[in-house]
Amino acid sequence: MAPDAQSAAGATTQAVALPAQPRRKGRKRSEAGGRLSPLALGAIYLALGIGAFIMLIPFIWMIVTSLKPMNEVTVFPPKWIWWPIHWHNYVDAWRTAPFGRYFFNSIVVAVVSTVLEVITCAMAAYAFARMNFFGKNTLFMLLLGSIMVPGEVLLVPNFITLVRLSWIDTYWALIIPWIVSVFGIFFMRQAFLQLPNELFDAGKIDGCGTFRFLWRVVLPLSKPVVTTVALFKFIGSWNSFLWVLIVTNTPNMRTIPVGLTYFSTEVGTTYNLLMAASAFSMLPILVLFFLAQKQFIQGIARTGLK
C-alpha cells in the first residue's frame, strides 16, 4: 500500500463519523442535482427492501420454526400462522443438553479473554506508541508479519503444546492462547499515537506513574478504539468453534457452539428444538449487537481502511 493510505485512513475516520451530520450536506446535494426521481427512489427502496428481506428471513424462519409443534414443522408448504404457539420448545431444548453449563463456559471464556486482551494489548500498544526502545521496529514488523500466518498452520503444534502442558479440557486452553491479538495492539497503538504530546508531559510533571497514567488517562481517552477491540474479541470468543472442538473432550468444558453441534447430532431432525437452541445460543450476541451497533459498524469501517 502506498503511503497515501494514511491520509486516506484519516479521511475515512472522519467519514465514518459523518452519519451524525450529513443531513445538511445531503440536502445540498439533492438540491444541486435534484436527480432522484420518485421512480428511481422507489426502485432503490425496492432493491434494498428485497435485500433486507433476504438478510432477515433466515432469522424469522428460525424463530417461526422454534415456536411450532413437531407436527406443524413437517408441513409443506410451511404455515406462517399456527396455533398453539409452542414456547415450551425452548425449555425442552435447554433441558436436552447441559446448555446451562455451555453458557457458563462461554461467558467465562469470553469475559476473561476480553478483559485480559484489553490489558495485554493496551500495555504492548503503549510501549509501541510512547516509548523508544531497542528492537522496536523489528519487533513491530515481526508482529504484523505474524498476522499473515493462517491459524490452520498453528493448529497442530499448539495442540501438541497444550497436551504437553496438560491443558487439554481446561479453561487455560480455551483462554490463554487467545488473550493477545496483534490487531488489538495495532489499533490501540494508532489511537495512543493520536493523543497530544502535551498530555504526556503534563502527566510527567504531575508525577503520575506511567502505569497509572495508562489506566487512568490514556485508556479512557481512547475509549472508542478500546470498545471496538473488546467487542470484536467478545464476539470472536463467543463464536469460536474449531479450537474449542479440538481442545475439549468432555461436555463440562464445551462452549455454546461446540455444545450446539453435539446437541444437533443428538436431536437429529427435531428441527423445532434445533431452531430453539440456535435462537437462544445467539441471543446474547444479538443483544450486544443491537446495544452497540454503532460501535460495531464504525469499528468495521475503521478496520477496513487503516
Binding site: 503511503p3 434494498l48 438478510m55 408448504p77 410451511p78 522496536k136 499473515m148 493462517p150 493477545v180 506511567t210
Partner: protein
C-alpha cells in the same frame, strides 16, 4: 486489517531522523552517556510492558510456526515416542499422490471463485444504493450486517433447515417461481452451491459496510464538478466512483480471498460433521482437520497447512502485482 502498516515505517523513520537532527550537533560526552542510559532504561520498561503479549505470542504464534515447519518433515502420530524423519516426502506425497488433497484444492477453488467475485459485486451494488440519499439507512445497514455477528455454527444449523429438501424454506420460495424442489444438501452437484449461497449471505454485510465507508470518503466536489459538465450517472460511476474506490475494492478482494481459502466451519455444520455427499464440499482445511484430528497424522497435516499457506501467499502476491497499476490513491 492492513498487512503492511504504512504509518509505521513513516513515523518511525521520522522520529529517528528527528532525534539525529536535534541530538547531534553540540552533545557533550556526559550528555550522550546520560541519553544512552535513559534509552536503555526505557528499553527495560518497554519490555516490561510488552512481556505479557510477547510471552503469549511467542508460545502460541511464533514457536508453533517453527514447530510446524519442523513437524512437516516428520511422520508422527502424536502417541508413539518416535518421530520418523521423512524429509520432503510429506510434501511430495501431498502434491503428487494424494487425491484427497487435490479434491480439497479443487473444491476450495470452486468455493473461492463462487463466493468472492459475486459477493463483491452484490455488496458494491447494495453500498451504492445505500449511499443514495434515502431514509432508513441505518435500518438497512443493521439488517445487512446482522448475519455477520452471529455464530457460524448456529446460523449454519438454520441454513441446514432452510435447505431441507422436503420442508425447507428455500424450496418453498423457489416454488413461488414454479421451480421444483431441489435436494440441496444431498445432491453432490448442489452441495457447494448451497455453501456458497450461505457464505455470501453471511459475509455480505461486512463488505457493504466497508464499501459504504469507502464511498463516503470520496469528496462530493468531484460529483458536483461532473454534474456541471453534464456527466451521466454511469459516467460518474465509471470515471469517479470506481477509480477512487479501487483501494477499498482491492482490500475487500484480498481479505475475502484469504478468508474463503480457509472455509471449514460452515461445511462441517451444514453437513452435520461431514463434508457433503460424496465429499462434494471437502475443502483444504477440512483435509487438514481430518488428517490431524481424525487420522492423527501430525506431520502430514502440518505439511498440508504449509501448502495452503503458500497457496494463499502466492495468490495474494499475484493480486498485489496485477492490481498495482489499477489502484488509484486519490
Amino acid at each position: 486489517m492492513a498487512f503492511i502498516d504504512p504509518t509505521l515505517t513513516r513515523d518511525l523513520g521520522r522520529r529517528k531522523k528527528g532525534n539525529h537532527a536535534a541530538g547531534r550537533p553540540p552533545v557533550s560526552p556526559e550528555r550522550r552517556k546520560a541519553l544512552r542510559r535513559k534509552f536503555w532504561r526505557e528499553t527495560g520498561v518497554a519490555y516490561l510492558y510488552l512481556s505479557p503479549a510477547l510471552l503469549v505470542l511467542g508460545v502460541f504464534s511464533f514457536w508453533p510456526v517453527i514447530k510446524s515447519l519442523e513437524l512437516s518433515l516428520f511422520k508422527w502420530d502424536m502417541i508413539s515416542p518416535v518421530k520418523t524423519f521423512v524429509g520432503l516426502k510429506n510434501y511430495s506425497d501431498l502434491l503428487f499422490k494424494d487425491e484427497e488433497f487435490w479434491l480439497g484444492i479443487k473444491n476450495t477453488l470452486y468455493y473461492v471463485l463462487g463466493t468472492v467475485p459475486l459477493g463483491i459485486v452484490i455488496a458494491l451494488g447494495l453500498a451504492l444504493l445505500l449511499n443514495a440519499k434515502i431514509r432508513l439507512r441505518s435500518f438497512f445497514r443493521v439488517s445487512y450486517f446482522l448475519p455477520h455477528v452471529t455464530s457460524v455454527v448456529a446460523i449454519s444449523m438454520v441454513w441446514r433447515w432452510i435447505f431441507h429438501s422436503d420442508y425447507g424454506l428455500m424450496n418453498y420460495i423457489l416454488g413461488w417461481f414454479h421451480i421444483r424442489s431441489l435436494p440441496w444438501l444431498s445432491e453432490p452437484a448442489l452441495a457447494m452451491p448451497a455453501v456458497i449461497i450461505m457464505s455470501i449471505w453471511r459475509h455480505l454485510g461486512y463488505d457493504v459496510i466497508i464499501f459504504l465507508a469507502g464511498l463516503q470518503s470520496i469528496d462530493k466536489e468531484y460529483y458536483e464538478a461532473a454534474k456541471v459538465d453534464g456527466a451521466s450517472g454511469w459516467q460518474m460511476f465509471r470515471y469517479i466512483t470506481w477509480p477512487l474506490l479501487s483501494p477499498t475494492t482491492f482490500f475487500i478482494t484480498i481479505i475475502s480471498t484469504i478468508g474463503a481459502f480457509k472455509v471449514f466451519q460452515e461445511i462441517y455444520v451444514l453437513f452435520n460433521t461431514g463434508s457433503g455427499p460424496l465429499r462434494s464440499a471437502y475443502t483444504i482445511v477440512f483435509f487438514i482437520y481430518d488428517k490431524a484430528f481424525r487420522d492423527w497424522e501430525m506431520g502430514y497435516a502440518s505439511a498440508g497447512a504449509w501448502l495452503l499457506f503458500l497457496l494463499i501467499f502466492a495468490l495474494t502476491l499475484i493480486q498485489f502485482r496485477v492490481s498495482r497499476n489499477r489502484i488509484h490513491y486519490s
